[in-house]
């Protein structure tokens, strides 16, 4: 089930949209950053899988905060379009930093290969099950965080209305930094999960960004459970498309899904609420 791997970055994307109100396409490069951070932790430093995932989360999260502060925040007042273009340019910059350091060759993690499981005649890769578990765990964690904790409530307040939230004494900038950390961190985890399933290279993030965006839009931008639902939906749609189209057209599925959704039901399946 390829959709499961889209779920975690889609949650990050939706969360950032929900609070900051703009689709941050630089997610693509942070996904790649996380994947490579995990690679360095795993193949370079010999850390086990779980620790490497944590490293991926932290490194991508920090990169997200820094890149937002330095590049995107000053441009936010120039409007969403300029910010979107800057985010794409930022993705190019970060992707090439990775390419500079690691080159273009495909790399794999240093983990034992596991046999596919056979369940009722259907082959399921254990990695994909693990991805789904991580996705659901991330969803529950973020959901609970937003609904139960004070900081989560602050984030929802900022998502509703930054001006009113700051009147109440909530530091909007801090909330923005936090959501960038978590959102980009999740993207990094997603990158590592993709790498665990296949391999990684500087273009890992860019290849999936359209599908991640599609997952978030289909589920409803800003909705966390929507992101997971959307990811599974897009994953299923991509697999089904193989019945008619050549495998290379999978990205076209995401493209079509975004078009259809935004034209027919812009709110997405679960609507634009962060909880």
């Amino acid at each position: 089930m390829a959709g499961t791997v889209l779920a975690v970055p889609a949650i990050g994307f939706s969360a950032i949209y929900g609070v900051l109100r703009f689709p941050n396409f630089a997610l693509a490069s942070h996904l790649t950053i996380g994947a490579f951070a995990g690679y360095v932790a795993n193949s370079g430093l010999g850390l086990p899988a779980v620790a490497s995932v944590v490293v991926a989360f932290v490194v991508a999260g920090v990169a997200g905060v820094v890149s937002d502060e330095v590049v995107l925040k000053p441009l936010r007042r120039a409007g969403p379009l300029t910010t979107a273009i800057a985010a794409i340019a930022l993705t190019i910059v970060l992707e090439n930093v990775i390419r500079f350091v690691f080159g273009n060759t495909l790399r794999g993690y240093d983990l034992p290969i596991r046999r596919d499981w056979q369940v009722a005649g259907v082959r399921i890769g254990p990695q994909q099950v693990q991805n789904l578990v991580v996705a659901v765990a991330a969803m529950v964690a973020v959901f609970a965080f937003l609904a139960r904790t004070r900081t989560g409530k602050a984030m929802r307040a900022v998502a509703d209305s930054p001006t009113l939230a700051s009147i109440k004494g909530i530091d909007v900038d801090r909330v923005a930094r936090l959501v960038n950390f978590v959102g980009m961190g999740l993207a990094g985890v997603g990158g590592m999960l993709i790498g665990l399933d296949t391999s990684i290279d500087p273009l890992t993030g860019f290849r999936v960004i359209l599908s991640v965006f599609a997952a978030a839009v289909v589920g409803g931008l800003g909705s966390i459970p929507g992101a997971v639902a959307g990811a599974l939906g897009i994953g299923i749609a991509e697999e089904l498309s193989l019945l008619w189209l050549a495998p290379a057209y999978r990205t076209a599925v995401g493209f079509l899904a975004i078009l259809l959704m935004l034209s027919l039901r812009p709110r997405g399946l679960l609507g634009e609420r962060a909880y």
């Binding site: 703009f22 689709p23 396409f25 590049v71 000053p74 441009l75 120039a78 409007g79 969403p80 379009l81 300029t82 910010t83 979107a84 273009i85 800057a86 794409i88 340019a89 930022l90 993705t91 190019i92 910059v93 992707e95 090439n96 930093v97 390419r99 500079f100 080159g103 273009n104 960004i209 359209l210 965006f213 050549a246 290379a248 057209y249 990205t251 076209a252 995401g254 493209f255 975004i258 078009l259 935004l262 034209s263």
Partner: protein, 299 residues
């Protein structure tokens, strides 16, 4: 090199029509460029058509693609439009890679005829190509300047600034949007056709989204909304790319992939810097102020 500057200038002019004047972002530029290149290449290579006919076909088919794109993205907001148009250019590239029966797939199409190629020396061929490209740029620039100062140009700018107001004023906004997209796409298609005939070889992997970003950089740095800015920007970007090639000669210990990475990085970084510090570009759009005729006598 100057020929490429001309091609980028041409593409920047196309982008200026749709973005600078009509206010709609199109990051799928390289998709129309690719469509134009393939149409002309196939027309001249497989159907044996003469080159001008190929270029004309490129214009038409690219314009049709532009109409399609405009129709399907009619309702999208600016930043969504950005990623959707980018997705469109990727779909074009994937189609070119996969429909081998049409496009030869990743092998590409080679041996595309060029104007008088083979009958003159390579240097003369380069000069001829430069002259042709320069002539096309001059024609398109002249047309664009006419458009800009015409009522049509004013409608486009009105749409850009606030399309609800333009609609209330009775302008058929949707129709104009489609038209602008089609014309802009057609210009990009012509640029693609010229590229194909100049370089004689095209392949899907050449048409990456990075090229669209180069064109955006060209227009933004040169001056969005200003046609001369588009031309200046095209020259700037090519100059920039060539100078990075020189600069990396000073860093001999880098491998080719690293050199390429540095170049792309600089392009991305430059775009961010221009957006941040001089978003109006080198030659900003000149706002023409019209003083209304006062019915009252000046006292």
């Amino acid at each position: 090199m100057a020929t490429f500057a001309g091609l980028y200038a041409l593409m920047a002019l196309g982008l200026n029509l749709i973005w600078g004047m009509a206010g709609m972002i199109n990051l799928g530029l390289v998709g129309f460029f690719a469509v134009g290149a393939y149409v002309s290449a196939l027309a001249t290579r497989k159907l044996g058509a003469p080159i001008p006919l190929g270029v004309a076909a490129a214009f038409l088919i690219a314009a049709v693609a532009g109409v399609l794109m405009a129709l399907i993205t009619a309702r999208l907001r600016g930043d969504y439009l950005a990623i959707i148009t980018l997705g469109f250019s990727e779909v074009v590239r994937l189609t070119a890679s996969n429909e081998i029966w049409l496009t030869n797939g990743t092998d590409g199409i080679s041996g595309i005829p060029g104007p008088w190629r083979g009958r003159v020396t390579p240097e003369t061929f380069n000069v001829i190509s430069l002259v042709i490209v320069a002539a096309v740029v001059a024609i398109v620039l002249a047309v664009m300047q006419r458009v800009r100062h015409s009522p049509y140009g004013r409608v486009l700018r009105a749409m850009r600034d606030d399309d609800q107001v333009a609609s209330v004023a009775g302008k058929h906004v949707a129709g104009f949007k489609v038209e602008a997209f089609a014309l802009s796409a057609g210009i990009l298609g012509v640029a693609g056709a010229l590229y194909a005939h100049y370089t004689s070889f095209i392949a899907p992997d050449m048409f990456t989204p990075l090229i669209s970003i180069y064109v955006v950089l060209a227009l933004t740095a040169g001056g969005t909304g200003n046609n001369w800015g588009a031309v200046a920007g095209g020259a700037l970007v090519v100059f920039f790319m060539e100078s990075t090639r020189f600069a990396t000669g000073w860093l001999p210990q880098l491998e080719p992939v690293q050199v390429a990475a540095v170049r792309e990085l600089l392009i991305g970084a430059s775009l961010i810097l221009v957006l941040r510090f001089r978003p109006s570009g080198l030659l900003p759009e000149r706002i023409v102020r019209v003083e209304p005729e006062s019915p009252l006598p000046r006292t």
